[in-house]
């Protein structure tokens, strides 16, 4: 696939919803014509899904309860 010089940082900002309307439109127009960037953006989302689905959350209810008790005793 032909490599693209469009900055991948723009795709990161786009995926994060951090672009204004004009910038967003620029990215969307580019994506319509660029398979490499569409693949890169899809890859970003795939990585997010893989890590979220396969990284178990760790909890410790006992320590959490102890911490709440400790906070309750803190001078404030």
């Amino acid at each position: 696939m032909k490599k693209c010089s469009f900055p991948s940082t723009n795709l990161v900002a786009y995926a994060d919803g951090e672009l204004d309307a004009t910038q967003q439109r620029v990215v969307e127009v580019h994506l319509q014509d660029c398979a490499a960037c569409r693949q890169l953006l899809a890859g970003f989302k795939e990585v997010d899904q893989l890590i979220q689905q396969h990284t178990p959350e760790i909890d410790d209810p006992a320590r959490r309860a102890n911490l709440r008790a400790q906070i309750a005793d803190e001078p404030h």
Binding site: S8, T9, L11, V12, A13, D16, G17, E18, L40, G43, F44, E46, V47, D48, L50, I51, Q52, Q53, H54, T55, P56, E57, I58, D59, D60, R63, R64, L67, R68, Q70, I71, A72, E74, H76
Partner: protein, 208 residues
């Protein structure tokens, strides 16, 4: 039978209550963020005991300094920033050791002694091991960014704040981290002699 009004108090409202002297409100923030911070710290330090200590220190520091929180709506990012700074302090003291072993990867994948009883469970096992192995092999700076972006769900501006770098630097790191992860993941999941040996050792150990 009516509907339950499940009003969730926003972080900034809880912070305002804490600042007004309501300690219980901070307890709700602990409930909301404790496991996320602990998960992040375990993956940063690869040491459950150290991570538990740092989790506690994070919340204590947050409680003691919440009056200095510049913007109550940025509480999550601020909390992670405290956690990261505490981790870096321990790193400078030499207390953080990046243990990279088969057992650690299995532990981070949350795999206990249960043997999978179906092909789906076996696939799930392998997938989790792959993901955790790739995360473990990444450069720490890239892993750090992935934990904040992909796992914790922060946007690049928030990650920039947490890491005290520019927005552009944060986006560059996020892009590089996700591309690197995907590349390594694809290589591992395509399968090769090394990978077959890896899974063979793992399964014969009965961990999965």
């Amino acid at each position: 039978m009516g509907s339950v009004n499940a009003y969730v108090v926003a972080d900034d409202e809880l912070i305002a209550a804490v600042r007004a002297g309501c300690t219980q409100s901070f307890g709700l923030l602990i409930d909301r963020y404790y496991s996320r911070i602990q998960t992040y710290l375990v993956r940063q330090t690869r040491d459950h005991h150290l991570a538990a200590d740092l989790t506690q220190q994070t919340f204590l520091e947050a409680f003691r300094s919440c009056a200095r929180l510049p913007d109550a709506s940025s509480f999550p990012a601020w909390l992670y920033r405290i956690a990261l700074n505490l981790t870096r302090h321990e790193w400078r003291r030499g207390r953080v050791r990046y243990v990279h072993s088969l057992e650690w990867v299995a532990t981070e994948a949350g795999l206990g002694s249960e043997v999978p009883t179906s092909p789906d469970q076996t696939d799930e096992c392998h997938e989790r091991m792959l993901v955790q192995q790739v995360l473990a092999e990444l450069n720490p700076a890239l892993r750090e960014v992935l934990l904040l972006s992909s796992l914790a769900g922060f946007r690049s501006k928030e990650i920039a704040y947490i890491l005290t770098i520019s927005d552009m630097a944060a986006r560059q790191r996020i892009s590089r981290a996700k591309q690197e992860f995907r590349l390594r993941y694809n290589i591992l999941s395509r399968g090769n002699d090394d990978e077959e040996m890896f899974f063979s050792e793992y399964e014969s150990g009965g961990v999965c």
